[in-house]
Amino acid sequence: MLRYFKPIVFLACLVPVGRLAWRGFHSDLGANPIEAITHGTGDWTLILLLVTLSITPVRKFTRQYWLINFRRMIGLFAFFYGFLHLMTYVWLDKFFDVHEMIADIAKRRFITAGLTAFTLMIPLALTSTKWSIRKLGGKRWQVLHRLIYFSATAGVIHYIWLVKADLKKPLEYATILGVLLLARAGLWLASRNAVDRKPEFSEVGSGR
């Protein structure tokens, strides 16, 4: 089953960028195509980050444990869209003007937040291989990959800080992120209780 699902999910993740490219080539991105590309890639970075974050709670609540097989791929696609989004800024907005970008990062908090969100994704993308997990050890790898919480939070803050007056969409992302983080907290508490109880059972079981 997975053999077929994986390529499908892979292609599905390419649909947004394919659509942007298609519409771009057909002059169908509206009056301000560069803005449309910036918003499109930014949206999909956040969406895929949230999807990545939802996989663990969803698979635990629904007991569909096989879903874990998609987490790395979707996470890497979030990084891919984040990179495209950053490139629209570096290239299409600032035209590689380093001075302007440095001034921007220091002065504009929404740029600072956005760059933070992306930077935090870099170590995650770099250590996404099986080799890295082995090398780091599961525990340490897991701790490192908790950076995604901070990355997603910074990404949502980046969006909230950049809008002019209408906070509806960024607050939708914020709400979903909040729910996902709460779900994590719930799962964590549940697992902690389970761990706490375990010794009692083993004591009984071992007859000591």
Binding site: A31, N32, D166
Partner: protein, 319 residues
């Protein structure tokens, strides 16, 4: 969609009762209804006489203006499908669709405040106050994009003079229509409604300040501020109030909507100024719609003739 629209219209509405009862003619009526069903939206146009058909009608006798730029005009489609018009939607593509049935006639404009005589003027009488001119202006949005638009109108001063403000009047305040049923964006509190903008009297009297009712040689499309708006090419776009229903002369500086929304970002003057950044982004450059690279933003959007209005003022403080 088509079927649903047609189902709203019962045949009794388009067929008189006498015919309705006559079987043969009833059948004819049914045939008309059938045709109307096929015509769908067309019938709705006929059925609601209030629907405005002014937008897009040709304006006669337009004169050229010395204030026009020779720069390439932005395509009509971009100027009509990329609108910051929060009364309809915060989405730039939204107003084109949502303003389609906006009623721009009958339309009254209240002239009040510090004037010799308060009056309610019909928009068509305002339009006839002076002969229409085409003014091809650069238009710079506070968000960092710009367009070039062939507006049609005449100097705002023509109206101000006829309004007869008293000597106490120091400012002019413009109010946009507040009507949630027609302007769905007003159902949400993204801004404080109605939209209010204002000018100092000398700014309003400057010949560049345009009272505008058309563009591209035609009556203003609804999504671009029909039936009456102002255009202030040396200021950021949000100063140019749309769908104006009230012009009030005051002694105190009007409180403009975006200034209420975030005072540290949007001031009263809002003159285009590449040296004073928006707190969240630089204003040094802009993207002209249709262009790939950004171009430098010019002081007063290149309209240096307004500079004397602000001599001695700290434009960093009076942003």
């Amino acid at each position: 969609m088509l079927i649903k629209k047609a189902a709203d219209i019962r045949s009794s509405e388009i067929t008189p009762k006498s015919l309705y009862l006559n079987r043969r003619k009833f059948l004819a009526g049914a045939a008309i209804a059938g045709a109307a069903t096929a015509a769908g939206l067309k019938l709705r146009d006929v059925a609601s006489p209030s629907r405005s058909s002014f937008a897009g009608s040709k304006i006669d006798g337009i004169q050229k203006s010395q204030f026009s730029t020779s720069e390439a005009v932005t395509p009509y489609k971009d100027v009509t499908h990329y609108n910051n018009y929060y009364e309809f939607s915060t989405d730039k593509e939204g107003p084109a669709e949502l303003a389609k049935n906006f009623r721009t006639r009958p339309w009254k404009v209240k002239i009040d405040g510090l004037v010799e005589k308060k009056q309610d003027l019909d928009v068509d009488s305002i339009i006839k106050m002076a002969s229409p001119e085409e003014r091809i202006y650069r238009h710079r949005c506070v968000e960092g994009w710009s367009i070039v638009v062939p507006w049609v109108g005449f100097s705002l001063s023509e109206l101000v003079k006829r309004a007869n403000p008293t000597s106490k009047a120091k400012f002019v305040e413009f109010t946009t229509l507040f009507d949630m049923t027609q302007m769905p964006g007003q159902q949400r509190n993204v801004l404080e409604w109605p939209y209010v903008e204002g000018l100092r009297m000398d700014e309003a009297m400057h010949p560049l300040a345009l009272l505008c009712f058309g563009m591209y040689g035609e009556a203003l499309p609804n999504q671009d501020g029909a039936p009456l708006r102002i255009v202030l090419p040396w200021k950021y776009g949000f100063k140019s109030a749309k769908a104006i229903v009230r012009i009030r002369f005051t002694e105190k500086q009007p409180i403009n909507t975006w200034n209420v929304s975030s005072p540290q970002e949007y001031g009263f003057y809002a003159n285009v100024n590449p040296n004073v950044d928006h707190p969240r982004w630089s204003q040094a450059k802009e993207r002209r719609l249709g262009e790939f690279s950004k171009r430098p933003t010019l002081m007063f959007n290149g309209y240096d003739q307004v500079g004397s209005l602000y001599s001695g003022m700290d434009l960093r403080k009076n942003y």
